[in-house]
């Protein structure tokens, strides 16, 4: 085993990690990406169905993790399929987390540069992010979990505040009719919305840290449901304000929505910076977990101290995050990651579970 301290996290902390990890850059574009596929105002139903799909996959993952308590997927994939295939699986997961963390970083920097710090170069936003992330994750899983516990209530409070202030520009007619064109349009967006819940697979890794592993399933379900509520509220408010025709034209529909109303009489009239600030915190949490998961994976494969990989990955993450040359390439990177996740995480855990059941592998 590695030399790192074996910390433990409580069940609420697990919930917070899962939902913080799911809520990433995707939510800012979700109303557009869903409506592009669905083409009716029924996207919120698709989001709920997507959440349920994600839940089914999550149950499989928890069942898999439960067979190997105290071990991460990087370790038990070796046990199940042998060293070669196991390493390939682990490497895929590591590369996935590495790319995802770079993508979140870049997306964060793009939105920040557009809305908050217009004159600041990308590197000046990204580098401090990596440094602070590095500082956090060298402490191990416990500091990460505790920081998430601080970030999470702030996010909920401000997010709900900002969303419900938008009630002024909300028009329920934009969300009607419900299933006017039948069930088919709803199904068309299912892939997109299921993908938006990507992140719950972190349970494969943090399961080994749980103080009460028996409650892993409950924690995953609650974590997923919280994100589901966030997604639904966002979608309903944004489509209610912009209508489906308006939402598909906007690069960041959620930000357009936030900027489409002003509240006079309150201490502040505008809430876009407020939302962006909490959103940067959310992106930071996603980034930090990805970063940690990638480093942890490497340390488990090579049986070396995790700190070595934490420092080693930092420049790599920076380079990958600077690779997309413009915003379209950035969105492309996002969809490449999305497609990979779709195939990888819907197949591999099932296969691993089946093989381990057949070979009776369990520790």
């Amino acid at each position: 085993m590695t030399k790192q301290k074996f910390d433990q996290i409580t069940t609420p902390q697990t919930v917070v990690i899962i939902s913080n990890f799911i809520l990433g850059i995707g939510i800012l574009t979700l109303p557009r990406t869903v409506t592009e596929k669905v083409k009716t105002p029924d996207g919120w139903i698709t989001i709920i169905l997507g959440g349920i799909t994600a839940l089914l996959v999550a149950i499989i993952m928890v069942k898999l993790a439960e067979r190997f308590p105290g071990k991460s997927i990087f370790q038990y994939s070796n046990e199940i399929t042998g060293k070669v295939i196991g390493s390939v699986v682990s490497l895929c997961i590591i590369i996935y987390y590495l790319t995802l963390s770079s993508f979140e970083l870049r997306a964060m920097s793009e939105t920040t540069r557009l809305f908050l710090l217009q004159g600041t170069p990308n590197w000046a936003i990204i580098l401090p992010f990596i440094w602070i992330g590095l500082y956090l994750i060298t402490g191990g899983i416990n500091p990460i979990a505790r920081m998430f516990e601080i970030v999470f209530p702030i996010t909920i409070l401000f997010f709900l505040l900002v969303m419900f202030l938008g009630i002024k520009v909300f028009d329920i007619n934009n969300l009607r009719p419900v299933m006017g064109m039948g069930v088919m349009p709803v199904m068309k967006g299912l892939t997109t919305t299921s993908l938006s819940f990507v992140g719950f697979e972190i349970i494969l890794i943090i399961y080994m840290y749980m103080k009460e592993p028996t409650r892993a399933l409950k924690a995953t379900v609650i974590g997923l449901s919280i994100s589901l509520v966030f997604y639904c509220v966002t979608f309903i408010m944004v489509i209610g304000a912009l209508s489906i025709d308006g939402a598909v034209t906007q690069t960041w529909p959620v930000l357009t929505f936030i900027r489409s109303f002003e509240i006079s009489g309150l201490f502040v009239e505008r809430f876009d910076s407020l939302l962006l600030v909490i959103w940067i915190m959310q992106l930071f949490t996603t980034f930090a977990v990805c970063y940690y998961a990638a480093a942890l994976g490497l340390s488990h494969i090579f049986n070396k101290n995790i700190n070595l990989f934490i420092y080693g990955l930092a420049p790599l993450i920076y380079i990958v995050s600077m690779m997309p040359r413009n915003i379209n390439e950035m969105f492309q990177l996002g969809s490449v990651i999305g497609n990979f996740t779709l195939y990888f995480f819907s197949c591999v855990p099932v296969l691993l579970l089946l093989i381990s059941l057949m070979r009776g592998k369990q520790s």
């Binding site: 809305f115 004159g119 600041t120 520009v169 007619n173 912009l242 025709d245 900027r259 489409s260």
Partner: protein
């Protein structure tokens, strides 16, 4: 002891480094060097060019507390010509120092000639794309030249802010509900026709007068509604809170609106589409010029209700006729109700809905309900 001293030295070094590192913001811009745009006016110019007039707020030089009393002009209008909005913006920087800051822009006024000529969606592309300008910016059409509406003789007034305030308050049924850029976006993207508030200038002062009708297919101005037709439109859509209706009779009796509830119900039978409009209005009698009346009697109230109903009915009828026979567009959201209640029928007709709407029968039913009549109930002469 020595260790403690070393620690103190290090703390000192870090603190003084912070002094250098944390002095100011990266994108620091002094507020005096920024021109706050309060409103913009777009006009057609010779040779297919357009002009943009930017209204800058002039900050007070002395005594910020005495803001309302300076007697100086509170604004400065900078006008430039070009073939699109972006070059015009740069052109103004050749004339006036400081960069343009659009985050506080409240209104955009588009001149009549320009609105008739150019697709609105292209014209305001910059306003949607630019991240400074907010979706809550309100849109207006000017009668004649738009830059005239951004001027005022009165001291201590920023015309853009005044227009914005009037629009937000919307105290009368004789004006439209505010249309922001975001609302306009969804109208333009769904190709539906819509109305924008028209501004006129009388003796150098701006007034809300009538509405401009924008056709959804072309996004161009095709005609105007007068204030009376707006009253009818507001009764159809229910998009108004307060206002009054005169009763039909020799001597005026004015009914003050307190609440409008309107409901459009579409009916689809095979290929035939029809609408039924049901409006119920609550309010009180605000003024009565009849020589003798007794409002304490319920029958008199019913009588007045009937007379107001007649007038409201004729207002609505007239506006519907205007839409169907004259302008040939649906600006009251009939199509939207069809979309909601009969989505499949809507799929068939949405392509040329405006054309179809011209011949679609609309039946109306208006209910006036008088809740009270103020301090006078009876007059005998």
């Amino acid at each position: 002891m020595n260790k403690q001293r070393m620690k103190n030295v290090w703390v000192g070094v870090i603190l003084s480094l912070n002094l250098i590192l944390l002095t100011s913001c990266w994108s620091y811009r002094p507020i005096e060097d920024v021109n706050f745009v309060a409103g913009a006016a777009l006009d057609a110019e010779k040779g297919g060019k357009i002009s943009s007039t930017l209204q800058y707020v002039v900050p007070h030089e002395k005594g910020g507390g005495q803001a309302g009393m300076s007697g100086h002009k509170q604004y400065e209008n900078i006008k430039e010509v070009g073939d699109a909005l972006e070059p015009i913006g740069w052109e103004t920087t050749l004339k006036k120092e400081g960069s343009i800051f659009g985050a506080h822009e409240k209104i955009v006024v588009i001149g009549e000639e320009l609105a008739r000529k150019i697709d609105m969606e292209q014209l305001v592309d910059l306003y949607y794309r630019d991240i400074d300008i907010r979706g809550s910016t309100l849109v207006f059409i000017a009668d004649g030249k738009a830059d005239k509406t951004l001027e005022s003789e009165a001291p201590d007034i920023v015309p853009s802010y005044r227009i914005n305030e009037i629009a937000i308050q919307q105290l009368s049924t004789r004006m439209l509900r505010q249309t922001s850029l975001v609302v306009m976006l969804s109208k333009m993207e769904s190709d539906s026709s819509f109305v924008l508030q028209r501004l006129t200038t009388e003796k150098g002062e701006v007034k809300f007068d009538g509405a401009a009708v924008i056709k959804g297919k072309t996004n161009k101005l095709i005609g105007f509604l007068n204030k009376k037709e707006i009253e009818g439109l507001n009764l159809i859509t229910g998009d108004s809170k307060t206002g009054s209706i005169r009763s039909q009779g020799k001597k005026p009796v004015y009914f003050q609106i307190q609440q409008i509830k309107s409901k459009i119900t579409p009916y689809v039978k095979g290929e035939n589409i029809s609408f039924h409009l049901n409006v119920s209005i609550d309010g009180r009698i605000a003024e009565d010029w009849k020589q003798s009346f007794n409002l304490f009697k319920d029958s008199t109230l019913k009588q007045v209700e009937k007379e107001v109903e007649k007038e409201a009915d004729s207002l609505v009828e007239h506006t519907i006729n205007r839409m169907q026979d004259d302008l040939g567009v649906d600006i009251a959201g009939f199509g939207n109700e069809l979309r909601i209640h009969h989505p499949r029928a809507w799929q068939r007709v949405k392509k040329d809905w405006d054309e179809r709407f011209k011949t679609t029968p609309v039946t109306t039913n208006i209910n006036i309900h008088i809740t009270d009549y103020g301090m006078i109930g009876e007059r005998n002469k």
